[in-house]
């Protein structure tokens, strides 16, 4: 957590991906303190002249107000933030593909029509699509279900 805060302050993390850090910073005194300290440390390192109390009140005001206004411009994703395996994994596809490969090698060429060679959908083929639908469609109560979506990061 502190590492991630540090990365954020240093502008190494995409601001767009940092709501969780703001949420966390809002919620725990320890993290909020760390947040202030990192700013002070960074400013000292960059030799910016910022009055600490002024800085603190400004940060806290921004935290209360609009979090995305506060952080430095995004530079690039930091190595400090762990990136997990995308949920929309190719894993199950690859099993199906390896089984089918013996029969269908060369039939599925990029952007070539393959109308008669497609297989009927089987049990779990379309799970990934269903999960993605439930995750991003605007009205879906299925939000609360735990399914294959939540294998992410394991």
């Amino acid at each position: 957590m502190k590492q991630q805060l540090s990365a954020l302050v240093d502008g190494e993390v995409d601001v767009e991906r940092c709501e969780h850090i703001f949420l966390a910073a809002k919620s725990t005194g320890e993290v909020a303190q760390a947040w202030r300290e990192y700013h002070v440390i960074r400013d000292v390192m960059r030799e910016d002249y910022w009055n600490e109390s002024d800085l603190t009140s400004r940060i806290m005001a921004n935290l209360d107000d609009e979090p995305t206004l506060l952080a430095p411009q995004a530079v690039s994703a930091s190595e400090k933030v762990t990136h997990i395996r995308p949920r929309f994994s190719t894993y199950s596809w690859s099993i199906a593909a390896s089984v089918a490969a013996a029969f269908f090698v060369g039939l599925f060429v990029f952007n070539q029509p393959a109308p008669n060679t497609a297989m009927q959908i089987a049990d779990k083929d379309t799970d990934q699509y269903v999960v993605a639908h439930h995750n991003f469609a605007p009205s879906s109560a299925t939000y609360y279900m735990q399914n294959v979506a939540f294998s992410a990061g394991e």
């Binding site: 969780h20 809002k26 725990t28 995308p86 929309f88 190719t90 297989m119 879906s140």
Partner: protein, 322 residues
């Protein structure tokens, strides 16, 4: 003129007119109730416990919702299964998903979470559904007005709405198919209004010992491409388009999202590359229908909480601009 004739000539038409007017006003009144229901979920301060049923799946969720200074805050704690906490602030949604050794953070945007399931703009719903007053029922200790949303066609399911008679809060909602089977329902077991303006509750249970990781498999930027869907099913409009990254592939999966104001459908478009098994056919899972189709070397998959003909129609209408 006999009394009977007088009745026929004057009273009967007047009586019929009165009945007709009443039904017209009644539906308008019901839309007013629906508008109140849509707003109440967003503008009231409440706390409660609701349960979501879909087939064999049951989930209990604890909700705290507050509207303060023109901003909306909510915290949903999923009580069954693996711990999850869903936070929303306005349109931004952040999910804290506890894993064995870490917390996975997922980001969402602009979804209609229970009880805020009805859109605040009711115009699209008025085009596609008629309202019918059912009666009154008690839900979670509260008196509710029960209203059916009857679809104008077979391209969407029917919904039943239980709206708190006093506050207008959505207490329960169910989805019913054309045969009258309940496919999905979600409703409060217990709910109470919050008097406090304190936002202390708006924080996840932070475990400082665990690392927090972002799930960044989705690029939420809007994109445009050469996809054309000539005739969307009546009442459906495209509301969003995003792209999903797939690990180990150079290609991305496009997800187009359509809605009739309440029901939503996703269309996935993915180039069929070497080693990928193309799929065709359809599948039903409770309220969700799936239709897979192949076109010009692309895998199309349509998924939605809509009848089978709706997903099929969308899949059949896709073409690519040259």
């Amino acid at each position: 003129m006999s009394l009977k004739l007088v009745f026929r000539a004057f009273f009967l038409p007047a009586l019929l007119l009165a009945v007709f007017n009443q039904s017209v006003y009644a539906e308008e009144d019901l839309w007013v109730t629906m508008q109140k229901t849509a707003s109440a979920a967003r503008e009231l301060n409440y706390q409660g416990l609701f349960v979501y049923h879909n087939g064999a799946t049951i989930r209990s969720v604890q909700i705290t919702h507050m509207y303060e200074g023109g901003r909306e805050f909510s915290r949903n704690v999923v009580l069954d299964g693996r711990p999850r906490e869903v936070f929303s602030e306005g349109d931004d949604i952040v999910i804290f998903n506890a894993k064995n050794d870490k917390i996975v953070i997922e980001k969402r945007r602009g979804q209609n979470l229970f009880p805020a399931m009805l859109p605040t703009q009711l115009y699209p719903l008025k085009q596609n559904y008629k309202l019918k007053y059912v009666g009154q029922e008690r839900i979670a200790g509260r008196l509710a007005q029960v209203i059916d949303m009857v679809p104008n066609d077979n391209l969407r399911y029917q919904y039943r709405v239980w709206s708190d008679a006093e506050y207008g809060l959505l207490l329960k909602m169910s989805m019913v198919d054309a045969q009258g089977h309940t496919l999905e329902q979600i409703g409060f077991n217990q709910v109470s209004m919050l008097q406090t303006k304190d936002l202390d509750w708006f924080q996840p249970k932070i475990d400082a010992t665990k690392p927090y990781v972002m799930d960044d498999s989705t690029d939420l930027t809007h994109i445009e491409d050469n996809l054309v869907i000539a005739n969307l099913p009546t009442g459906y409009k495209k509301v969003d388009q995003i792209q999903l990254k797939v690990q180990g592939k150079n290609t991305t999966v496009q997800q187009l999202i359509f809605s009739d104001g309440l029901a939503s459908v996703s269309l996935f478009v993915e180039p069929i590359v070497k080693g990928m098994q193309a799929r065709v056919g359809k599948k039903n899972m409770g309220s969700t229908n799936v239709y897979a189709h192949v076109l010009n070397g692309y895998q199309l998959v349509v998924v939605g909480e809509v009848p089978a003909q709706t997903v099929e129609q969308i899949a059949q209408q896709v073409t690519f601009k040259k």
